[in-house]
């Protein structure tokens, strides 16, 4: 299931309907709890679009509370909270400043859909992961052997890297097939993605 959470609405409903800026740690913690509450209601596997379009300002403290602490719960190698994948949508240049900083601090990465429609990986990513992620973005969905062939790497390396990307919740795994979080073609928006065959059918 693909669902969209408007972060600005969560701010107004969870904290104060007069606020339009995501600043301070207590505010960030409240917003994260509001997002978690919505996620709790959508099942054990989900792709969630976190929409920052209506957020004016995001400071470092709030980015740490909302983005980093949210992701950390779902990318744990040991016992992830649930299988939830995120696409961060509508982030401005100033949001990126704060988010890049906290991703670096926690060695995290995320998928962002920019205003021009192009998806982008942000955060801490090694060369292999970036290559395979970009290949997946082109393919939409594929088995490891197909990814290896397209990326020009060994099957074993492709398989291992896809598993790493899945653990980090940067690609979706469905049995033996991996699915890009961003649909099959560059420029596709999240709304378009939701309507494509690339959307992960097994997520519920």
């Amino acid at each position: 299931m693909i669902n969209r959470i408007d972060v600005s609405s969560v701010l107004r409903t969870s904290v104060c309907d007069l606020y339009s800026n995501l600043v301070t740690r207590p505010t960030g913690a409240m917003v994260r709890l509001g997002i978690e509450h919505q996620l709790d209601e959508i099942g054990d596997r989900a792709l969630t679009i976190l929409d920052f379009s209506h957020v004016r300002l995001l400071d470092f403290s709030c980015a740490d509370e909302i983005v980093a602490k949210l992701l950390l719960q779902y990318v744990s190698v040991d016992i992830p909270r649930r299988e939830v994948y995120f696409v961060f949508y509508g982030m401005s240049e100033s949001h990126m400043d704060a988010i890049e900083t906290v991703l670096q601090r926690h060695s995290l990465a995320l998928v962002s859909q920019l205003a021009d429609g192009n998806p982008r990986l942000l955060g801490v990513i090694d060369d292999d992961q970036r290559l395979i992620w970009e290949t997946m973005r082109q393919l939409g969905s594929a088995e490891p052997s197909e990814v290896a062939s397209s990326a020009g790497v060994s099957a074993e390396r492709a398989k291992q890297t896809l598993e790493d990307l899945w653990r980090r919740r940067l690609v979706i795994r469905e049995d033996h097939v991996y699915v890009s979080l961003c649909g099959g073609s560059p420029g596709m928006t999240t709304d378009e993605f939701a309507a494509t065959d690339h959307s992960p059918s097994q997520l519920s």
Binding site: V23, F60, S94, T101
Partner: protein
Amino acid sequence: MTKVIDVPPSLDDQSFEQVFEALAPLPPDEKILIDARRTRWASPYGLTALLTVAQTRLQKPALAIPESDDTATYWARTQFFHFAADLYEISGKIPRARSTEDLNVLLPVTPVAKTEDIHRVVDKIQNKAQAMLIGGLHLEPSATMRFTMALSEICQNVIEHAGRGGWVAVHAYRWQKRLGRKVVVISVCDAGIGFRQSLESAHGPRATDRWDDGMALEETVMRGATRFRDPGRGQGLAGVRKFIHDWTGKFSVRSGTARIAIVPEWDGDVPMRENLPFFPGAQVQITIPEKVVP
């Protein structure tokens, strides 16, 4: 007997050291009079620090306000007297602030004691900051958000570390003598526990030959140390440092007996001053200069 402390004619982060020096040897219960009659100008640092001075005294201090009408009126428009009236016994006629809308006062003196205060500060400053940073200082449009982020992070430090409320003010003016350009200055001052005690509250004093206010400032401001064990902490000041560098701005933090500064080329300050007269809490100043357009 009341001890009289003279306020310099021009009151900023540098000249305020004279006030700290006069205060340091006095017991906190000694009655003092802050004599600002001859003061003609005060930066946001001067105004917010004057309020924190009153907070450190056990006996309500007295304040003689500037004799110059222009100066006293300006202080009224910055809302200084609105808060000083509770903290000081004021002598002299406080002018009525005919209007608090002043292009140069981007943010009047504002208390910072709880999270809601920071939301209020951020909401209040955005439009004015945009006009001043882009129109006045010729910075790129994205500077407004980064400037507000820096302001938010510095204010949060007061709430998370000081243990008591502080004050923030943001003014814009032409810095004729020192720079010959316009500047925007953020000042955030508190009289709380300070950087050294904040770190000690979690980690204890460091086992080193030199553990003092200067080292605590190095650890926190330059290396992002914090009393919280959460690995996500300490990013705020690091982010502020980055913005300051991008804008060739100046960032200084005074706490206890030391003062650390990130000094741009246009300023002759030193990166670290130690053995200053002790004053509680932390006093932070950010100065963003007008960009030189070729």
